[in-house]
Symmetry: C2
């Protein structure tokens, strides 16, 4: 009789920073009913991966789930996989953190489940060949990856019926390919389909194996799957079918399989993830083209079609890069402290946990660093959690080590120097090469990055918004990768695209036809070439040159200069912008000098734009205030001729005062992004743009000088 081995693995995860009610409903809709069914079928072996983020929440809120898991391990029904504790993209974090994250989850599994994990779930299956050594050295014997890159390397699909072995510098690790077919069939086709497929692949070779391992959220948490899996009993039926066919389907664990059978072959996999990830990491234009090509390609061609590489989310989204480079920066500081032995240790379940490391590890959770078809990077609460942990770790890592007040180095790894000011209240990141803009303002007392605003970018799926709106009335249960539901209608009008990054301290010279409406839609005329063009750091202000100056006299001030042009109808007009950035206690002080360097008089319309990551656009307790006028963050409006705009965000516990040394108009408008989520298209408030602006008449060689002060205090 032809037989087949079958491994069923689920990976359960909720990102760091996700809302408590999401953890709760995911547990109720997915993790818990899944366990209920599994417990009723003690003969069906199952492999689980729970990420540390989820484990932390369960320990606190639903510890009995973990205890039930422990029993499944005890009776030999379940195998538990390790992984990076807070589910980082392993290749994107420093080596020392790679092993630290794995060790943390392995230690937990050993202590909690009295089970030594042998295999690992690799976050998002983002594989790089050098990982074999890292994993092997962390005690990982095998890892589970997608079948697509085995195929593209020239291996026949029929050969993917076991595991393979790879190595880096002689350190070996085994790789199980996940069946693409089963990943799409379970639970999206009737249970009999999977049994039928297993039958068709059964063979006389006793080692024949198929693996289905994928997100556990497919079983109850993704839209409509609760109905399928539990109300319509997909899972119960499937496990019953496995039992009924146990004479030829041998459901087993990875550890049982490797004990019994040798590797199919040696293999080297390139940088890879699941096929869809390769689409998402492409630039939007290429993504669209790629999807078209894939849709029309037959299997023989498709196996050689490859999209992009995970790490290019860091080039696709500058916000992702900013977060990633800050993570590397903080990791470096934490490592230095750890290697000096001056790191505090706490005990938990007999495991030594340095709280500082834990903050760093939390901040490496992958979800906020990229975006595919779930919210990811577009979700402010996820990004804010990353920054919160990073800033806390940063502040804690300074204890005992004096940090210089101004650092000048290539922070974001684009080959150009950035400047970081630090005092007790702020970290301020300035980027001379890009408009002399401020890319980050961390308010240290609440560990909040106040400028964490995502630019509005074209996403390839935006072309489908119309279709989605039409379809939103007639939902059907389909594979989440194929169909887009729409949560809200009338999203089309929010599809506006920024031509520059929504940093702060952006220097605009508006065309006379500009209106707030046009500006907020990024459809206005920019006369200047300052917004995203390089500024020079004034040499006299180089902190390096201050080394001879006594500490008390050193100024934490940087002066940036650009000799640019206004591109008027009468020809280019040379204009110089010199701006200084300094901070004093809870104030950030910006000094501006704008000089008409032409021989003609001119009227310029200047605006300095800030983008703040406010909490809630509709909350009445979060508002702008000018004299007696009060407006919510959702407002698109102009506060006319004022020198003080007060901003209050009670959720962030922040009061922000924007003061100008002259009377300015203050334009404010909200930034909405349209992105995909499990539930379809979604409109997300990223923050608001605040632009003090003013028309100024300048004679030849005349200079206009003014100051903007930003005071930020805890409520």
């Amino acid at each position: 009789m032809k037989k087949i081995n079958f491994i069923f693995g689920v990976h359960n995860h909720q990102p760091v920073g996700n809302f408590d009610n999401v953890f709760e409903s995911a547990t109720k809709q997915g993790y818990e009913p899944f366990l209920d069914v599994i417990e009723r079928h003690p003969n069906i072996k199952i492999v689980f991966h729970y990420t540390g983020c989820l484990i932390d929440w369960l320990e606190k809120n639903r510890p009995e789930i973990l205890n039930r898991l422990k029993i499944l391990v005890e009776i030999g029904q379940a195998e538990i996989l390790t992984g990076g504790y807070y589910e980082p993209i392993l290749s994107s974090i420093p080596d020392v953190d790679k092993s630290g994250q794995i060790k943390k989850l392995s230690d937990y599994i050993k202590a909690k489940f009295l089970h030594t994990p042998r295999g690992m779930w690799l976050a998002e299956r983002v594989w790089e060949p050098s990982l074999a050594k890292t994993l092997s050295e962390a005690g990982v014997e095998y890892v589970v990856l997608d079948d697509s890159h085995f195929l593209s390397g020239g291996i026949e699909e029929k050969k993917l019926r076991g595991y393979f072995i790879t190595e880096e510098q002689g350190s070996a690790v085994k790789i199980f390919p996940i069946s693409h077919y089963l990943r799409y069939a379970m639970p999206f086709a009737i249970p009999e389909e999977t049994i039928k497929y297993l039958k068709s692949e059964s063979s006389d070779d006793p080692s024949t194996l198929l693996v289905m391992a994928d997100d556990g959220e497919k079983f109850g948490v993704w839209p409509d799957t609760y109905k399928t899996c539990y109300e319509e009993k997909w899972l119960e039926k499937f496990l019953t079918l496995l039992e009924e066919n146990s004479d030829w389907i041998n459901v087993m664990t990875f550890s049982e399989y490797v004990k019994k059978f040798p590797a199919v072959d040696r293999i080297y996999l390139p940088t890879t993830s699941y096929f869809e990830m390769g689409e998402w990491t492409l630039s939007a234009k290429s993504q669209f083209e790629f999807e078209e090509i894939v849709a029309h390609a037959d299997t023989s061609i498709k196996r050689f079609l490859k999209g992009g590489f995970w790490r290019n989310f860091l080039t696709k989204y500058s916000e992702s890069n900013q977060m990633h480079k800050k993570m590397l920066y903080v990791s470096q500081r934490v490592s230095e402290l750890a290697s000096s032995g001056r790191i505090a240790i706490r005990q938990n379940r007999g495991i030594a946990i340095p709280p500082l490391l834990n903050l760093l590890y939390k901040a490496q959770c992958n979800c906020a660093y990229w975006h595919g078809i779930f919210g990811g990077l577009y979700l402010p609460h996820l990004r804010h959690a990353i920054y919160k942990n990073l800033i806390e770790a940063e502040v804690k890592s300074e204890v005992g080590s004096r940090k210089s007040e101004v650092e000048v180095f290539d922070f974001d790894k684009d080959g150009q120097d950035e400047i970081i000011f630090t005092n007790k209240i702020f970290n301020i990141y300035a980027k001379p090469s890009y408009g002399g803009a401020i890319t980050e303002i961390d308010f240290r007392p609440t560990s909040y990055n106040l400028t964490d605003v995502i630019s509005r970018r074209f996403e390839s799926y935006h072309k489908k918004v119309d279709i989605a709106v039409m379809k939103s009335e007639s939902k059907k249960l389909e594979v989440i990768h194929g169909v887009y539901y729409t949560k809200e209608l009338e999203l089309q009008k929010y599809l506006k695209y920024d031509w520059y990054n929504r940093y702060s301290l952006i220097d605009h010279f508006f065309h006379p036809t500009t209106t707030l409406e046009k500006f907020s839609d990024s459809e206005y005329g920019e006369l200047g070439d300052f917004v995203n063009q390089p500024y020079k750091r004034e040499v006299g202000c180089s902190p390096r040159l201050q080394s001879g100056v006594s500490k008390a006299n050193r100024k934490s001030e940087v002066v940036l200069r650009r000799d640019g042009h206004l591109w008027t109808e009468k020809g280019p007009l040379p204009v110089q912008v010199v701006k200084s950035i300094s901070s004093s206690k809870s104030d950030i002080i910006i000094g501006y000098k704008i000089t008409n360097n032409s021989s003609k008089e001119c009227e310029i319309w200047f605006g300095s734009e800030f983008n703040f990551a406010f909490s809630n656009p509709d909350d009445e307790n979060c508002f702008y205030k000018m004299e007696k006028r009060c407006e919510k963050f959702n407002t698109k409006t102009c506060f006319e001729k004022t020198s003080l705009l007060k901003i209050s965000d009670k959720n962030l516990n922040l009061n922000i005062n924007l003061m100008s040394s002259d009377l300015f108009d203050f334009w404010v408008f909200p930034i909405w992004t349209i992105s995909l989520s499990e539930g379809g298209f979604e409109k997300t408030y990223q923050g608001s743009s605040v632009t003090p602006n003013k028309k100024i008449f300048l004679k030849p060689k005349e200079m206009f000088e003014f100051q903007i002060k930003i005071s930020i205090e805890k409520l």
Copy 2:
């Protein structure tokens, strides 16, 4: 006026182990006349990379070439790139060797040319993302790679007009994309074509850059290119055109460019090399399919088509893997010795060179580890050079450290244990999981791997042998990647394919219809399931279990057993083969016990096959000898009913005696492979198969016992 920057780089290399006359003619045909022309155009900036293998030869044989190069550097005309000294595929060697190889070449360049190299030539442009850190830490600022993977990541071709910047764990390195168009145009189209292309790409952006960097052998060494480049003066004309158009073509070096211009953007490249390499590393069948798809794909699709990953040459060719894993094994021993500080140092030009490290580095030269359209792995002299250096390094690394006589571990990283015997004369590698075969016999007195024979495999280009034979009369100057010349006619009859690896100690049970002719063509009937199936190591012989035994009594012997079957017409016949391998001084002693485990009597025809890497098939001083009969290695013949076959190879300085305890027939035949080289299809003698065989009548449960002794001595 629209302008363009242009960088012209050449990479000059000859592999470790190449024939002296090849070095000589390459210098005369390529490296020297190239310099002659360059020297006549002192205003044309040029970038050179000379590999250490070539530098070593030039230092010894043509030192004035290097002195002329030094002058070009002194006058600022030339920039010199560093690299791995002996041109290893950097990602395939241990980290410590990566930095060691780069340091060695950088140190040489500093000492010889008084020039600190800032950029690097990456061997075969085999990139892996983790290399950014390695390179950055080795002081490399920039590297030159192919444009294809920039495109596939979603970057528009028009954007590839400068350099990009990447990072690993915060360590950054710059990457210059090489223009695919120019790589094919130079020197294969008339010089005016390149100028025309530069013109079409010139722009108002002063940073616009195109890079052509490729093998220097294209300029004189590849077939017909001497005629083009020097007789027909392609190079002279091209440089003159560059001079004549110097008002808009700015020929510069990489270091000049990075000083002047910032990076175009940040980028992360996946595992990559040039496009063609991705084809070659695929399995032959996939390669053929891929080539067909590429040939019919338009540009929009082609950018997303990717072939395989360099490291899979190690899975495509088991011989490549054997060499690679031996390299890792020796590197590990050398590293241990180096870290213990017990490594000898020699001085050369004020640079400290540990000779042991140098042997290891030489053995990492990439060419013999893979095969594309040049000989590479198929060339015995290149492989022999790798093994010679490895074995010498291995022997030297044992000084002072006692090596165990038998090691059992997963040497080749397939998940199964191999066994390595070592005494003063031999290293013998046995592979229980594959027929209990011997995969390597190193004769230590001459540092020679006697079993280094390549199996005859189907290569995708074999389908083109017929066409090539037809075309060979009408040669034209075309791009080497497109057209195959044929060196010899009647190659078709040598296209025979092995169904098992040409190891030694392979246990055959021949079908009664087998003849030497059929056997040598690998087109015979194999009744047994022993050739490539797993043997068990007898537990009593495990070296681990001998730990309680006194040293003098320990037997360096391993016993392997397989209970297999002969698949006869009358049904499967259970047969047991037990074979022991031991060595004593210059003898390898094989003991065989073959048992008929069935209840029927049977006649079996058993043969134990060895494959030896002899030097020369046609040399009269290299021969088999049985009594008075003497035959060259080219011979396909049977030495009937003998117990002694003498083998003598004067080029290898070896005498080999094969002795059997019974009278056997000794079949011998040569192994020819057909592979591609610069000059077209090429027939290569890999060695000869030697198979003592005998028909044996066995009663039920009867055992036949015999011995084969291989004595190897220096002439």
